[in-house]
């Protein structure tokens, strides 16, 4: 548990990072197929109490990044390189049983589809108590009132009854709340949320995001929010990393990034959000093409074929991630003009 109940974002320069990911590279090596690099040299920091977003469309490597940090990638068929230092320990080289001790206690995770993420044949209460039994050496009996308390805290009404309910008896929003309760049971210092609201109704989405925000602020838990939804980022994150083709293409604090996006991919993502105040019937502006059009990063910008303003260099040379002093970073030869 962190004693630091730091206001998110206020500790950018002071604290040591809680999690420091450096040059993370995940390559899938399936038999009979060409190796595929899903995450290609990703580096970012998460400070205590901070909320960091990893944003990008499907296939950009954001989920694989989180699974690699958690040590939850399949045992075979992939290669993980780089480091993910959590409080001085590299998680990527940690022994399997040591990693088991940390998962659920120091780092927890919530997933996209709350129904399929819950065991259908085990009561909700049991799925909460098992974490406490495992990491807090509690008996099942002692853990039950704690589990009740947790369900209450995540806003599940009538928690006594819900303890013995099975996942199929809960609504989608309740299920995600239950998963959050399980993840926060041992007061982890880092929570990774992988598209936690994608499978939910829009109204429920807002509730769940509000709950997450409240809980991490209250407990000082750092949060890595993985999403394709810039709306989620706008409401929650202190710092945003935009991923494309397995690499970070732009990074910045939330307000700066939204106020003046520099990478054409980021501007594209922002432009493709439908607006309520826009003209009625006005067509959406999607980013043309799909990730299937990507060029290899080795000697080009992977985004070039879909870019709105490519220059010659984009298909001849690989752009580097350039950092400025204010914590912004950009990987682009021809960035969008800063508006401010």
């Amino acid at each position: 548990m962190t004693a630091t109940a730091t206001t998110p974002g206020s500790s950018r320069h002071g604290d040591e990072p809680l999690l420091s990911v450096r040059d993370l590279r995940v390559t899938f090596t399936r038999q009979g197929e060409d190796p595929f690099t899903a995450v290609d040299g990703v580096s970012f920091d998460v400070r205590p109490g901070q909320t960091v977003g990893l944003v990008g469309e499907s296939g950009c490597g954001k989920s694989v990044t989180s699974l690699a940090i958690m040590g939850l990638l399949p045992a075979r068929g992939n290669r993980v390189e780089g480091t993910a230092t959590f409080e001085g320990t590299d998680l990527l080289t940690l022994a399997k049983d040591k990693m088991r001790d940390r998962r659920g206690r120091d780092i927890a995770m919530i997933f996209q589809d709350p129904l399929s993420s819950l065991n259908p044949v085990v009561p909700i209460g049991r799925q909460v108590t098992e974490v406490l039994e495992r990491h807090k050496s509690m008996s099942r009996k002692a853990a039950t009132p704690v589990a009740r308390e947790l369900l209450d805290r995540v806003g599940i009404p009538d928690p006594d009854r819900r303890l013995t309910d099975y996942p199929h008896q809960l609504s989608g929003g309740m299920r995600q709340r239950a998963l959050i309760a399980m993840a926060l049971a041992c007061e982890p210092r880092l929570l990774i949320a992988d598209e936690p609201t994608t499978a939910l109704d829009v109204t429920i989405q807002a509730q769940i995001l509000g709950l997450l925000k409240e809980l991490v602020t209250e407990s000082g838990t750092a949060l890595v929010m993985i999403t394709h939804d810039l709306g989620v980022v706008a409401g929650l994150c202190d710092e945003v990393n935009v991923l494309y083709g397995g690499r970070i293409v732009e990074r910045g604090r939330r307000h700066e990034l939204f106020a003046s996006p520099r990478h054409p991919y980021t501007t594209g993502l922002l432009a493709s959000i439908p607006r309520l105040d826009g003209a009625r019937g006005a067509p959406l502006t999607p980013i043309p093409g799909s990730v299937a059009d990507n060029l290899p990063w080795e000697h080009a910008c992977a985004f070039a074929p879909r870019c709105s303003q490519p220059v010659d260099r984009c298909t001849e040379q690989s752009p580097e991630l350039e950092h400025d002093d204010g914590g912004r970073a950009l990987r682009c030869f021809n960035p969008v003009e800063a508006t401010s």
Partner: protein
Amino acid sequence: MARFLIRRLLQMVLVVFVLSVMLFLWLRALPGGTVSAILGERATPETRAALTKALGLDEPIWVQYGKFLWRALHGDFGTSTRVLPGADALDIFLTRLPATIELSAFALVFAVALGIPLGYVAARRANSPVDSGLVILSLVGVAVPVFFLAFFLKYQFAVDHNWFPVSGRQDNLSCTRITNFFVLDGLLTRELDCSASALKHLVLPSIALGTIPFAVIFRITRASVLDVLGEDYVRTAESKGLTARVVRGRHVLRNAMLPVVTTIGLQTGLLLAGAVLTEKVFNWGGIGNALADAFQYRDYSVLQILILAAALIYVVINLLVDISYAIIDPRVRTR
């Protein structure tokens, strides 16, 4: 749950009734017939007619069925004409049932005790040499005909090596009989040598009879565990840092067992109802053996009760499977 049970019980009655009609018609449509079987080919038409009348076989078929049904409902399934002439058909069934249950139980233990662990191991190491080897073994297991396997085991391990007895259920030890489950009787009367002898006699027939169920249970377990291992909730369990033992038991196996339970139930029904070949080869005094004899000699009364009982057992086991399903899977319970 009560409504579910009542509905299922009514279904069972209907199934058994329909089956009894079909069985009755089918048996009497078989060539040959009781009269020829008893009197032989060279009987005079007069003696044949007399016996036909005595057995009531000259009456219209629905009258025969009506009489059969009426008597059956009163526990009278007729008298054996050939398997054990003059004996009550129901008695024949009841004295032979324990032998078949005992054999089926051991065959099932063999199949489950090997099938589930090996299925789990194969799934965990999918596509490894261990997995491939086990899959091939299970394929051989389903493919080898039971009578061949039974004879093979018998000659290899009983005749050639003399490790196990050739046939029968027990050596002649003058054992006390209580339940007719020989292993159990030996334990109850503390005649442990009787139990030991019965166990030795059980080994080869159990393997012969249990090989197909083993192969089926193995394959279903493997497929089911593979499915469950890819489920999101297993990843959730891992993300909670639960020990490998808890992940395996509570999260993987408990879910993977759902289809396996069904399979075990169906296989049990098949074992109890259809151990004919194994019982024949090992001269096992059970239902399968009696069924074969009854068929050969057109012993209608015995055939009818054996086949109806087999059907009833099958249906009851299916009901038990459904109930156990409801116990393991809460999603079924609330429906």
